[in-house]
Structures are given as C-alpha cells and as structure tokens.
C-alpha cells in the first residue's frame, strides 16, 4: 500500500473550508441567540443598536426634513414636551432652524459608519498581525511589537488630533486617524492569545493529524480566540464613536455640512443658556448608543466566555 501523492484542487479545498465555516456560524448564531435571552440588558442593548442601525439606513423614510437646510423662521424651537414646543419638531430645532431629530438620525449614519469601519479595519489588521507574530514570533514580532509600544505611548485623542491636523479633515482621513492607532489593542490581544494557545497541546495534536501551520492558525486556534476579538470590537466601537464625536466637536472630524453628533454638540455650545436642547439632544444620542454598545459587549463576553457559561 503506497501513500497516494497529494492531489489537491484549490477550489475544492476552499469550498470545503467555507462549508465548515458556514456550518459553524449557523450553529453558533442559533446558540448565541438562545443564550441572549438570559441576558436582558445585553438584549436591550442589542435592540437599541439595531434601532440605531435601522434609523441610519432608513433615514430619508423616517423624516421628511432636510438635515442640512433649515428654516430660519423656526430657529431654536424647543422640544415637543416644552410649553413652547410643537410635535412638528419633536426634539426642537437648532440655530439655523433645522430639525434636531432629523439631524440626529442622519448623524447616526456618520457615527455608525465611522464606528464600524474604524473598528472593522483595526480588528482585521490587529487580528492578522497578532496571529502571525504570535504564532511565528521572531524578528517580525519584535518589530511590530515595538511599533505598537510606540503608538501606545501617545494618548489616543491627542494622537488622533495630530493625525487629523496633518491629514486634514474628511471622512477617509478620519477613518485613517482612528485605525492608525486602533489596531494596536487588537494586535496585543490576538498576539497574547495566540502565544498562549500555541503552547496548548491541541495545537501539537493538530500537527500530528497532518495540519499545516496556516490551517492550525486559522482553523484550530482562531475559533478559540475570535470570541475575545468580538468582545473587544464591541467595546472599542463605543470608544471610536466618542472619539469621532470629539474630533468633530473640535472641528477636525467630519466636514461641517455633514450632520454629525460631535459637531452638533459643538454648534449648540453657544446657545446652551437659551437653547440647551441643541447640544443636549445630540449628546444623549451618543450616550444611549455608546451605553447600548457597551452593555451589549459585556453581555457578549459573558455569553461567549465558556468559563462563565452555566452548564
């Protein structure tokens, strides 16, 4: 009996891998949703996040106002529950007579896109670099780790302000500024987990069954650490949104004509004494979303961490 030579079609192999992944995801998702019922706060957070997402996607269908063009005759109208307010403008209007609710809904587009993109790109870079350096170690690991240490020495906001001042404001530059340092947390997390997982015996056992290094990294170890990446991603998402708002508040983020929560808070600053709602409403929108994301992230950690799982 001869050992047959390795004949392997790359397409068949990929199809096979995706079949495994899809199966795993489907099962994990069903399990996850069932588990979510035991964490009412996380569930609430998840629902709020979905509502924000829907609002952002369906913005033109929810409100008929234009977020950028105001009506100067209705400047600084108070919210509906105020004696002088009206339901025409449920959360009032700003100094240029624009509906605040409309601007918040459109602003959700900016915040969520920035949050998802910045975290998504950061997580991807961190995951790939962390997995490779943590698995192979060596000189590359040393170089990337020292660079990460260097970046960590700067306070995040100051660093982002510097990058934005250098690149100029704009959507792409904002994402760049946020990911430029944002990947470091993911990198450190994944690298550390990879290093500790690599010493586990199941990695050795995987070698014994005939798996290669890349397969071990991607198919054996990654499923064991991807959950902490998810948790970190949700927790970082809220932070990124606040950072975007802070930069926009300082006039360094999103260009002023695009509605963004941070610049809304900044614009309302001058009217705080006469029209507190201009700043406050946008601030509350940030607060609720970030809170929802954090609560969801905490719940996610409880659910995904097998050590905390109740049998």
């Amino acid at each position: 009996m001869e050992v047959s030579p390795q004949v392997e079609s790359p397409i068949a192999r990929q199809a096979y891998l995706w079949r495994i992944r899809l199966g795993l995801w489907r099962r994990n998702l069903a399990e996850f949703l069932a588990e979510l019922r035991n964490h009412p706060l996380a569930l609430l957070g998840g629902v709020i996040i979905i509502l924000y997402l829907l609002a952002a996607i369906l913005a033109p269908y929810i409100t008929s106002y234009d977020p950028t063009r105001g009506n100067l005759r209705v400047r600084l109208q108070p919210p509906a529950w105020h004696p002088e307010g009206s339901w025409e403008y449920p959360l009032g209007t700003d100094a240029q007579g624009r509906d605040i609710l409309t601007r918040i809904i459109y602003g959700a587009r900016v915040s969520l896109t920035v949050g998802i993109l910045a975290v998504g790109i950061s997580a991807t870079i961190g995951l790939v670099l962390g997995a490779i350096t943590g698995y192979y170690r060596g000189r590359l690991d040393w170089a990337v780790s020292r660079f990460a240490d260097l970046l960590l020495a700067f306070p995040y906001l100051i660093f982002a302000i510097g990058v934005m001042a250098f690149l100029g404001s704009g959507f792409t530059n904002l994402i760049l500024a946020l990911t430029f340092k944002g990947w470091v947390e993911f990198f450190r997390l994944v690298r550390g987990e990879m290093m500790s997982e690599k010493t586990q015996e199941y990695v050795e056992a995987a070698r014994v069954t005939g798996l290669g290094h890349v397969s071990i990294m991607g198919r054996e170890v990654l499923p064991n650490i991807i959950q902490s990446v998810f948790v970190l991603a949700t927790l970082r998402m809220g932070y990124m949104i606040i950072l975007e708002a802070s930069l926009s508040f300082l006039g360094l983020g999103i260009p002023p004509h695009i509605p963004a929560w941070g610049s809304m808070v900044a614009a309302g600053r001058d009217y705080l004494l006469v029209a507190w709602w201009v700043s406050t409403m946008a601030g509350i929108a940030i607060l609720i979303l970030v809170l929802a994301i954090n609560v969801f992230g905490e719940g996610l950690r409880d659910i995904l961490d097998p050590r905390l799982r109740v049998e």
Binding site: V3, A205, T209, G210, E311
Partner: protein
C-alpha cells in the same frame, strides 16, 4: 514488500542545541517493528522516549532537529519526504495519542467535529474532490468509530464539547480521532498516565482490541514497565536517549539483562511480594547535556567498574533476539573501535 518491516529506525539521532551544549535526546536508536506488532518504549521521564515518537512524525520543535539516521516507514525514508507529503502521512498512516486528553482536544469544537475533521482532512487531501466522500457517509463513519472506541450513545455525543466528557471518554475520543483514518501505526505517548487505574485498564483493553481487529501496530511509550509487560510484544528500555535493552516482553521482564532494567523492575511495588521492599535506583537521571563518555548508567549501577566509563558500549546480543548495552555480558572486556550504534 511483505518482508519490509512496517517501521524501521536506523541510528536515529535527535539533538537539541541548548545553552549548555548539544543535548542528544535520542542517540543512535535502532529498532524495527512489523505490521500489527506492539512495541513498548520504557524509561524514566526525560530519557527521550517521547522524542522518538515526535521524530518519527518529524515534529521536533526547532531548534531541535534530527541529526542523522533513517526513519523507514513501509520501506520509504520519511526524512526524504516533502513537508506536504509528510502531512499526508500524519494522522492518516501514522497517528498519535497523548497523555492529557483534555488539553489535546480543541475546546472550540465538538468531539464529533474533531473526529470528522481528521477524516475530511485526509479524504480531501487524497481525492481533491468533495464528491469522494459525501458528508452523510463521513458522519456515519465518525459514529462508527465512536461506537468502536466505546463512546456510549455516539449520536448524542457527537455534538458534545470535550469538557463535557469524562477523562476516560476524552481519551476514547482522542483514540477515535487517531483511528478514524485507519492508520497502520499508532503512537501512544503515555496514554493512560492521566487516568484512573480502572479506566486505564479499559483504555488498554480498547487499544489491544484495535490492534487485534485492524492489525494496527502500536508503539506504547510509558514509564511503567509493569504496564508495558502486560501490553506489549516487544520492549525497548531507554536510558539517557539510548536503548539499553531490547527483546521479547517475556525475556525482558522475566530475565532482565541490563542492570537498569533490573533496577526498574525492583522499583515496582508488587502486591504478591509484600515482604520485598521496593528498591529504588540510587542517584539521579544524568544531565543529557553532559553525559559521561562511557555508560550513562554507570554512576548509578551496582555492577559498574572503571572500564564502563571508558568509551562507547555497543548493544550486545545476549541471546537470539535479546540485546543489552552492558559490558557485564562480555566480562568487562572492551574492544577498540566500538561505537554506540554497533551490535555485537
């Protein structure tokens, strides 16, 4: 083909460079085994018996490496194979099971999936076509293997995670992973050391049944000479990276030739001889980075003489099929030009 042994090691030497010098973890190990044979590699921890197994699979971690020797499996030297070809051998032709089953199983996947994975990996590698083994038939095979290794209600256990299994069941699952591709050779690295005595007996029984039903050859690595005596056909005793005695199990256990083997047997507590005190071997395992030029066991040996430290000692045939690495058998007469790899 029929006459070629299943596995043949010739002068296998595996070294690990360390700060204190080269450690020859496996030094000039030569043995061969036939299809369906059970070989016991016995020795204290650190004597290189696990390294022999990892060397066979070519999984020595850098900077350690195989310095010389041949690993002939079915007549082909595994050292000549490309790393891709080697991967098709691992898990399919030669499987391995480990001491601690829980840490060997991947916590992120169900037991069924892990058995399935090994099967899929090698079937896909073989044919390159998915149609070769439809999912349902593969799953059937997984259930069949789980039944064979004695996992009760395998259909339900398929979707259970490793931590939900008991230690014995985990080891059975590990054996199922190793056996699902029906390898010709199973390497067992202290497979029962972490288990209770009763479970230990069950696992050994299972392995013996597999050996009998499928003709799977087994190399059992253990520090327990008594266990090896019960389970193996042939025993090779290792000390400090070298084989010091080898022969059919009955000869080695009933008439141990090498003083180290005798010492190991005296260390073993026996219920039937309660009046005999356990006699430990004095001294410690030598430092592998700093071995004496002659017999490594000499400092602890009750029979040692000055000549023992003089240089390499060959394996000496004490009776047909039995070899022992001790000058005692030649009346302490050393001949010039003897090497560690020689047989006289």
């Amino acid at each position: 083909m029929e006459n070629t042994p299943l596995l043949e090691l010739r002068n296998l030497t595996t070294i690990y460079p360390t700060r204190r010098g080269l450690v020859r973890a496996v030094d000039d190990v030569t043995f061969s085994m036939a299809r369906g044979q059970i070989l016991g590699l016995v020795g204290e921890s650190g004597c290189g018996k696990s390294t022999v197994l990892l060397s066979i699979l070519r999984l020595i971690r850098r900077p350690g490496h195989i310095a010389q020797g041949e690993i002939r499996f079915r007549g082909r030297d595994l050292r000549d194979l490309s790393s891709n070809a080697m991967r098709t051998i691992r898990g399919k032709e030669i499987s391995m099971i480990f001491q601690d089953p829980l840490s060997t199983l991947n916590p992120a996947f169900t037991v069924g999936e892990q058995i399935h994975e090994s099967l899929r990996l090698h079937r896909v590698m073989d044919g390159g076509r998915l149609s070769v083994s439809p999912r349902a038939r593969e799953k059937e095979r997984v259930i069949q293997v789980m039944t064979e290794v004695g996992i009760p209600s395998p259909v339900d256990r398929y979707t259970a995670y490793p931590h939900q299994f008991s230690g014995g069941m985990q080891q059975r699952a590990l054996i199922a992973i190793a056996l699902v591709c029906e390898p010709a050779l199973l390497l067992a690295d202290e497979p029962t050391t972490a288990l209770d005595v009763t479970i230990q007996a069950q696992i050994l029984d299972l392995m013996r049944r597999i050996n009998r039903d499928h003709g799977t050859a087994i190399i059992l690595v253990t520090h327990d000479l008594g266990l090896a005596a019960e389970f193996c056909d042939t025993i090779a005793v290792m000390y400090a990276g070298r084989i010091v005695e080898q022969g059919p199990v009955d000869d080695v256990v009933d008439h141990p030739q090498h003083p180290y083997t005798q010492g190991l047997l005296n260390c073993r507590p026996r219920i039937s001889h309660r009046e005999l005190r356990v006699q430990p071997i004095p001294g410690n395992v030598p430092d592998l980075a700093d071995l004496p030029p002659g017999c490594a066991f000499a400092p602890r040996c009750p029979h040692h003489r000055a000549v023992c430290g003089g240089g390499p000692i060959p394996l000496i045939e004490t009776s047909p099929g039995n070899i022992s690495r001790c000058l005692l058998h030649v009346d302490y007469r050393r001949q010039e030009g003897w090497g560690w790899g020689d047989r006289v």
